[in-house]
Subunit: 368 residues, 2 copies
DNA sequence: TTGAAAGCGCTAACAA
DNA sequence: TTGTTAGCGCTTTCAA
């Protein structure tokens, strides 16, 4: 068969277009468009005919065409370190829920805390002409990628991490207080040597949590021993190594605060490999609380962040900012809670007969 | 100031367009387009001028316009149950990596294993005119949403879960063999009463794993006791309740296979609440292996799926299918491995003096 | 209340 | 090798 050589991209059945709908309903595309966007001024009769045609043809408007015409994509980009980290996957799910409700699409970008990956995703976002970007900065000291977005007139909202000078809406927790809360608790329990496994210093949550740790010690008139502060790089390996460094010391600390959940897993691996008893030999408090923190032996005392709320608020801030671009910048700070379970208990206390240790009777303490 | 009333959507600085680049380089937009797509037939001189203009203007092509014009979005939709489940977040990250490399964007859709949510996401995918969809069916017995995609000429690839009649490329593990492997191991260790915590019967991995469990027992000439098969709904709560049902029986099983990781967390919660000793009182094997399986006490014996490989292969199958639509359908079945750690150990063996139990001396066994 | 028509930014056929 | 131009599917102005 000889056919004309007009070029056709997709030989497969493409969906119906607005033209098809218009033809079938016997109206103009303008009318269909009006029905689509629920605009006033369409007669009952035509409205019904159009709706009918839409249904019959299983028509769905082409988003690319819409975006091109409307000059706004209704896509929100999200820059997170790694969706494999439970904290961030929960964040993303919540943001998505709120945004979807408002007719926006969430486009995910994992940065793995590398500026280069962040840049790559920012480029994609710019190409997609995103309506906004919610971001956890890969490096709190280098926000050039974020600034690039702003220069392009794209509203941005910071989550989880601070942004220093940069004027942007933000949601995060009170990291200093949260860390202080944990250390205060350990001090109250009578711990003398309290260590910290911290994260990369270019990530704000890491140094803020460290600040909180040091603040608590100083407030209590205790010295801050730099040897007891180990960088675990926010990774599982790092947590493992940091824990090893700490436990191989001649004078082991009696308690440890771990600045994120991933490192806690690494720390626990070391603890279990060496059959160290928690909390008898060492008390442990972990940042971040997971549903399965109670499935771990011993159940972990943890600093629980209101993750879902952070996600929802971030999305809401974004929507507000898009609607009212000139509103004043908002900074939302939420408080984290200390959930006391059984991974920290003062070894001194365990000598008191009135309060049995876990290993004796396996009680469980739950507060908060 | 009185201005003309021409309508303007975005008052903010929009990025440069191809026209701007053409003007600046003193060429036509066609030439810019040719440079952009790396086409032959542009003189060295113009090429350089165009590149320079692109750089100076920080120009990035508008994707919406491209999609509209090219009639293909280069977006791949991904339908997964819940990105908060580690297995799926890893899958997504790997797929994204491969697809991005090939110039495709991944658009994520969480179904939470609800057909309604699946439908919602499919509608979005259709509107976005996605080039393909990689899916883990919310319900293996109702693939109508997937069929709808196919009817629209959209290539689909199945991951993780079977699709029965439906002819589609797929990647999954050999679930029956994997479950059998685990149960065989427990049988070899001398366990008499082996229980299963299974998932929803409309999810193929759940019933396939159950088949493998039953097959292993039958092959060994053992009866299958329906009371020992508990539905845990693939959720943490479900795992908790299923474990409780099992342990409250007069004759407790001596070993349990848990069909996914989330339920294992629930099961462990119950185990720890009741201070049940693993593996002394009960042996446990869990489907799915996580980096932090070694951070749990005791380190979990697990069936490790090649998650990352599944993700990469799925993405590759998708790309192949797009390039060669008429290729024959491929089914890739990968094998899972049994990683033996310390959560399963035969209680009979522990009576042999030569082999101390974990709780005695805290040895660690690692194979695989 | 309705329709005609312009044009969003881009690619590719075709002409030069 | 380069430019001109049509048109992808949609929304909105403007005129009727």
């Amino acid at each position: 068969m000889v056919k004309s050589t007009s070029y056709v991209k997709s030989p497969t059945a493409t969906g119906a277009t607005i033209k098809d709908v218009a033809a079938r309903a016997g109206v103009s595309t303008a009318t269909v468009s009006r029905v689509l966007s629920g605009k006033e001024g369409v007669s009952e009769e035509l409205y019904l005919r159009v709706r009918d045609a839409i249904e019959k043809l299983d028509y769905r408007p082409n988003q690319a065409a819409r975006r091109l015409r409307e000059r706004q994509s209704k896509i929100i980009g999200a820059l997170v370190p790694d969706i494999q980290i439970p904290f961030f996957s929960t964040l993303v799910v919540q943001m998505e829920r709120v945004l979807q409700e408002a007719g926006y699409l969430l486009l995910l970008g994992n940065t793995f805390d590398q500026l280069q990956e962040e840049l790559l995703n920012v480029s994609i976002f710019l190409s997609e002409d995103v309506s906004g970007v919610i971001f956890a900065a890969a490096n709190s000291h280098d926000l050039s990628n974020i600034i690039r977005l702003q220069e392009n007139g794209i509203p941005v909202v910071a989550i989880d991490r601070s942004t220093g000078e940069l004027q942007v809406d933000s949601v995060q927790i009170a990291n200093i207080q949260a860390a202080k809360l944990a250390v205060d608790h350990l001090l109250e329990e009578g711990h003398q040597e309290i260590a910290l496994i911290t994260g990369p210093q270019h990530i704000s949550t890491a140094f803020e949590r460290q600040n909180g740790y040091e603040l608590a010690l100083r407030n209590a008139g205790r010295p801050v021993n730099p040897k007891l502060v180990q960088d675990g790089n926010y990774l599982m390996d790092g947590g493992y190594l940091a824990m090893r460094n700490l436990m191989e010391r001649r004078d082991r600390p009696s308690a440890i605060l771990v600045a994120n959940y991933v490192m806690t897993m690494g720390a626990l691996q070391y603890i279990h490999e060496k059959s160290i008893e928690v909390p008898d030999e060492i008390s442990l408090i972990s940042f971040d609380d997971m549903p399965w923190s109670v499935a771990i032996r011993p159940p972990l005392t943890a600093i629980a962040q209101p993750v879902e709320e952070i996600g929802r608020i971030a999305a809401q801030l974004m929507l507000d900012r898009i609607r009212m671009p000139s509103n004043s910048t908002k900074h939302i700070i939420l408080e984290a809670k200390l959930i006391i379970r059984s991974s920290c208990l003062c070894s001194i206390l365990s000598t008191r007969p009135a309060r049995p240790t876990i290993s004796d009777q396996s009680i469980e303490i739950r507060l908060g």
